[in-house]
Subunit: 387 residues, 2 copies
């Protein structure tokens, strides 16, 4: 993987970049829809491509349990198995072990857990996770980390973040060994993940230790897990300036459109979140002037599209009234159209930001977005967890 | 509506024809996917068009309850409401009142029933149903009929079929009045429905009385409701020869591919059935060499497409193993791909039959189909009822 900053904004930390992988290029700032089980819920791969998705997130934990890495390897890797030939990033499963599975024990060695599906016992070690991710054939892979809940004490956060660092070292070691075993050049990129809960000192310390290991990209994890939004921004402001300008910065599990804009301004390059699809399935859609809940009675006879400014298939062909009807009668096409529109909206939002940064007009664009977009909606933890 | 027989097969009763409506032409024999609530379950209108669907069935009963005819009229009619500009046929709701709603009373006047959704009280009279269907703006409309269960006595069947005839007369009268009220030429075509359960004499008597009323098309209803398949064919052989050659013949609620082929050979021009979508949602797919159940473990590592001979999006882009995985992890894309493939398969089957009839090779095609296609699957009642 290569990363190049194409344009640095002069009035903010925002930058436009280009990630290059063997499966193609990804202009940044980029948003990844979440394809936990090898599919972005309700959508087809063709629809993702048409929406402009260039990088897809899949989840090691879920794919490990079903269909299992053996099936995916026999299929010729994850790209072939799911019919997606653009880049894929795999999350390590750390977050899911701690939020979803029945956790049996975290030790220095790794995390022992029971499957949330059938109760079967599994052990994820940092080495094992990297091995699985190599076997899946992802382009960017994340190491196992210990995610802790909010709130937690300084001491809890310190211990977890130090364990995460030791795991990162082991992940990197195994990753390099695997790279040396390979004859072909499809070596994935392993990112480091900064943890440290809401303690700036821990976050900064954590970042410093990861930097010493020289990862090709850095993620910030363990945010948007229930903490006040002001604390999330405090952490970003503590960590982002420490990260090297020539490496991509990935903020995990964020966010709402207004958060994406602010975080891009702080210098984040990559995002993932289930919001466009999960909220879509609940009937919430994002428009250029804010959010609306299609299930509401006020849309029963509203024959305008979700967003008159949108060029997606849903907006070009269907009305709010029809999509609301689909939700009322529990027809899946409603979930599809709302999800499709939201993914399209998020991809267009990122495209607009990339273009504004390249043109040197990001600050003006950001102000116009704020003026138009109504942000009066509560945030929360929007990473794929309770499914 | 106009109907023209383009080619009559010389070795069977099969014929290729052309239905012309204000919303476009429909080559026959034609299969209609069922879009009960204004949507074919899991599929988009674009996907239906791409699969070659030319005529869509929607249901008066369901649309009456939700969203209600007022919303649809305000949208500018059913075509506009659902974003479908090809022809639409509306079923009357008779079948649903008797199978789905809590039926309170059938009288000479009509059928009083309680909604299966909220228990609200409604009365459908033959006149009211025709009025609703005119308001929806369908191209072909079906009159209210009394559907009775199988088995039933001769006397029960006789009374129901006679009431259906009297209702057909009233439907036709109201339909003609509405046509005279209209200034523009989008008058729908009202078909007659032959009932009479499994009693050939009743069926033939019923057909004779409908013929005297001179409908532009004739449907055969009340079959595939649990009777042995041999009885269904006995009824078809009793009724079809009586129907005029220059009018389309519509067999309601049928069927499996093997039934479609046999019924086309008997001279049926139109079909509708939920099988492609309902069975698809259950993981059953149709292929040129028979049916298969994708959920089965045998497909877990089968990296071939559903049907190697099929050109649909599912077969061109995904494997059985991946679609099985989607079913295993309960991802909607699995239901979508199976439904999409099945609708495509049914449309291609009809296209093949139309082409074979036009070329004069239908009997040979039919034999080849039988040799290749495994028909060892139990039939049953496959009209959209228990949802």
């Amino acid at each position: 993987m290569e990363f190049e900053v194409v344009k640095q904004d002069t009035q903010s930390q925002a930058r436009a970049g280009l990630l290059t992988t063997v499966h193609g290029q990804v202009p940044t700032p980029a948003f990844m829809p979440v394809g936990t089980r090898g599919v972005v819920r309700t959508l087809s791969q063709k629809e993702l491509e048409e929406a402009g998705v260039r990088l897809l997130l899949c989840n090691t934990y879920h794919l490990w349990l079903r269909p299992g890495p053996g099936v995916i390897q026999k299929a010729g890797g994850l790209h072939r198995f799911i019919g997606w030939d653009r880049p894929i990033l795999t999350d390590s499963g750390g977050y899911q072990i701690f939020s979803l599975a029945q956790l049996n024990k975290v030790s220095e060695q790794g995390a022992a857990f029971q499957s949330h599906i059938d109760g079967s016992y599994h052990v994820f070690t940092p080495e094992r996770v990297v091995e699985i991710e190599h076997a899946l054939g992802a382009d960017i892979i994340m190491p196992l980390d210990q995610c802790i809940a909010y709130p937690c004490t300084y001491e809890e956060a310190r211990e977890a973040s130090m364990l995460t660092i030791r795991w990162a070292e082991r992940s990197l070691k195994r990753h390099r060994e695997l790279g040396e075993e390979k004859s072909i050049g499809c070596h994935p990129a392993l990112f480091g993940i900064v943890q440290g809960s809401v303690y700036p000192e821990l976050r900064q310390n954590n970042a410093g230790q990861l930097l010493a290991m020289d990862f090709p990209g850095y993620a910030i994890g363990g945010l948007s897990v229930g903490e006040p939004k002001s604390l999330m921004y405090e952490m970003l402001e503590a960590v982002l300036p420490l990260l090297p300008a020539d490496r991509p910065r990935y903020l995990m599990g964020i966010g709402y459109p207004e958060d994406l804009v602010e975080c891009v301004a702080l210098g984040v390059d990559m995002f993932d979140c289930v919001i466009p699809t999960r909220n879509g399935r609940n009937g919430m859609v994002f428009t250029s002037s804010g959010r609306l809940v299609l299930r509401n009675a006020q849309y029963a006879q509203d024959f305008s599209p979700i967003d008159p400014e949108c060029q997606c298939y849903a907006c070009q062909n269907y009305t709010r009234a029809y999509i609301r009807h689909l939700f009322q009668v529990e027809e899946m096409l409603g979930l599809r159209l709302a999800s499709l529109h939201n993914v399209y909206f998020f991809m267009k939002l990122m495209e607009q930001m990339r273009e504004a940064i390249r043109k040197g007009s990001f600050q003006r664009w950001r102000q116009e977005f704020k003026n138009k977009y109504n942000t009066a909606y509560p945030g929360g933890n929007d990473r794929e967890s309770f499914q």
